[in-house]
Symmetry: C2
Subunit: 432 residues, 2 copies
């Protein structure tokens, strides 16, 4: 009874191997639930001789992904080669050949999503990408289908597991960034070159995709603010905790009243009582505020072989429905309903500042008068007691203000003679 | 371009009014996203003259839901009248008439799901029920579609908002059950007769549905253990907190190695560090463990006019795809793949016991020897210092043991002369 779906798998790295393995492992379950057998008939790899943790019959392997696109028997192509240039060519060719494409490539979509989605629409084939955002968490399906009746007001996401692991360890054990990063690398949670994870860009690619899905606007990478966690210190984590806040690398996608869109990724203070503050270690979570449903949260493993392959397999099941002449099973495609991106200087939030200052009379007056001159409200100021009269840390919590104004004030603070180091500035998100 | 979907709405109470209102409010968004207009063409109400917070043209109102079923123009019937007997008749008639049915009625499904799902399959029309479990949280779609490639290993849910609000207030403010219940009633979170919420049966109906969805087995209500929160005391909440635990009303659905299914709803101690312990107030959350995806969690408003209507509207969008000749968009229907329900005596967990005992020598020896005789391991024992030598609270944490053995031990403990009140027993869930 079960019709076979023939799959071409491009890439047999960590996630690709997971898809191959789990389609075999749970093949009976999938047949029972979907009425289809999913068979990977061809696999494109870079190196035929490489040792792998899955056994693929040699006859199915090729070193040229074009063999997958050219094979008329292949109905669905799963792109898991990573990178942008070659993946772009692959996905384009596959869509042009009228094949359904499933990709987990967030960088590809952030850069070429506009073109690829248009191409898929023109060719009338679906392009699925659940695995591209937050691994095993079904955030794409949830926004596209389950929340279809909602205007999305805002999305807040902890969407980089490596950064979250590092920040969690720093908070729990009081260790510094370098030590926590080394531990993440030792455990395999961070690459030898961890740049894309810790500099915020992996999360930014996901935020760009979520912003498009919510608002139909592909924000350009150069239009958004992206800060990583490299400069978060154990001192800031400790001070934030005394105020009831936890520091997380937070992706924010938010609709403004003038229908423009705010997209950014930054280390952010969030209230420790908020459920997002309980998202620890390598876990990811995405909060979605819909105008009808209110606050929802989706939590799970944001990376890893098995979790990510779960998302690819869900896309395969939807692809199978589609092949059985059931188009429409992928949820809505957003139209260009909303305006443009908000510039960073216009974005408004409360702020946390830590200043290293000389411990002498008049310092607080100097600092606070700069802030007042820029019309920024101060909600609290703490100067922990210093032993022995050395330089002191001054911690300030500011009321909400446009970032442009905050930036100007910060520039002046930095130039004060009493300020001895570059000030630390972080945003505060109260989810109000 | 947009094809109109004609809806018959049975019930214009809290949720029914929300569906009507929000379909109007976000009608343009839905048309843009789905290509359909959703029009409620007929509404069945009990009392035509009742004042409501939505304005429905009088010509659309009827007091007989049979008018909806008999109307050939109506394509989808939304059942939101509540109760079981009449709702059963309504859903049956609508399916027999070949109409798509959407229901938010958990009691109806827990009691008659077996028959109604079979009828829907026989008539080849879908029966949607996202709103029946956890309000605005898309847990049904997530299990049926997003996690389709996973064997479900276990589900843990905080799935009654009223109980969760009461327990949260008790924990935060140290107040007792009666005071917290009165506050829930004053805020409109609990009915004047709160029985179904606080006695655990509302949560149990949802657990039964989730068990069926995961395992294809309709567990009978009389086969499962259901305890409410009426006997949870401020003292237990406080004592549990000192041990690092939070007390939640937890629905548990779990697969045993012999393929039998455990389903129960009970106040349960969970580690305060687990994300479920941060689910507070009226919020709901469902943890799903899949064999591939690992641990996932879905969080949001489990009740309320708007959140629940968001779920009904998502079902309407899926129904529209179905009407456009795209069957298969509702995800899988489980088959009877799994065996039978596990009896409560066989269920295994760690336990918390609080005993009110006389403060005299030999009491601890008496108590612990009963426990040892039943071959139950004691993991810790705390006796908070008593002022003035009155009766004392003895708190015991037990290692995992079958409930049957624990029950026998508890019966003996109760009969000890040194035990002055009925012992308090609660399960502990460590999510291991």
């Amino acid at each position: 009874m079960a019709a076979t779906i023939s799959i071409g798998l491009a890439g047999l790295g960590n996630v690709g191997a997971g898809v191959y393995k789990n389609l075999e492992r749970n093949g009976d379950l999938l047949a029972e639930r979907t009425g289809h057998r999913f068979e990977v008939v061809r696999v494109a790899v870079r190196d035929l001789g490489k040792a792998r943790d899955v056994e693929v019959p040699a006859a199915r392997l090729t070193t040229d992904w074009r063999d997958l696109v050219a094979d008329p028997a292949i109905q669905v192509i799963v792109e898991l080669i990573g990178g942008v240039t070659e993946a772009h060519e692959l996905v384009k060719s596959a869509l042009e050949a009228g094949k359904i494409v499933i990709t987990g490539n967030k960088a590809l979509l952030a850069e070429h999503g506009h073109e690829l989605i248009a191409l898929a629409e023109k060719m009338d084939v679906p392009l699925y990408f659940e695995a591209a955002v937050a691994g095993g968490i079904p955030i794409i399906k949830s926004v596209r289908e389950a929340l279809v009746g909602n205007h999305i007001l805002a999305i807040y996401g902890i969407i980089n597991g490596t950064s979250n692991f590092i920040l969690t360890q720093m908070a729990r054990r009081g260790i510094d960034y370098r030590t926590a990063l080394a531990e993440a690398q030792a455990r395999g949670y961070a690459e030898a070159d961890p740049a894309l994870d810790v500099n915020g860009w992996d999360a930014a690619h996901k935020a760009i995709i979520l912003a498009w899905l919510s608002y139909g606007l592909w924000v350009r990478p150069n239009e958004i603010v992206v800060d990583g966690i490299e400069n978060v210190s154990a001192a800031d984590i400790r001070l934030a905790a005394t105020l009831g806040y936890t520091i997380k690398l937070l992706g924010v996608v938010r609709l403004h009243e003038d229908r423009r869109i705010e997209v950014r990724v930054q280390p952010t203070l969030i209230p420790s009582s908020h459920i997002l503050a309980s998202v620890n270690d390598v876990f990811n979570a995405v909060v979605v505020h819909g105008d009808i449903v209110g606050e929802t949260l989706f939590y799970g493993s944001g990376a890893g072989q098995n979790a990510t392959s779960s998302a690819v397999i869900a896309d395969l099941a939807d692809a199978a429905h589609n092949l059985a002449k059931n188009p429409g099973c992928q949820g809505f495609l957003p139209s260009g309903y909303y305006g443009q991106a908000v510039t960073v200087d216009e974005t408004v939030s409360p702020y946390y500042i830590r200043l290293r200052v000389e411990d002498r009379p008049g310092v607080i007056a100097q600092v606070t008068s700069v802030i007042a001159r820029h019309d920024i409200g101060l909600s609290s100021l703490v100067q922990p007691k210093v032993e022995g009269g050395g330089p002191a840390d001054l911690m300030l919590m500011m009321h909400a203000a446009p970032f442009g104004r905050m930036r100007a004030a910060l520039g002046e603070l930095e130039k004060l003679s009493c300020v001895t180091e570059k000030p630390i500035l972080m945003r505060v998100e109260n989810f109000a």
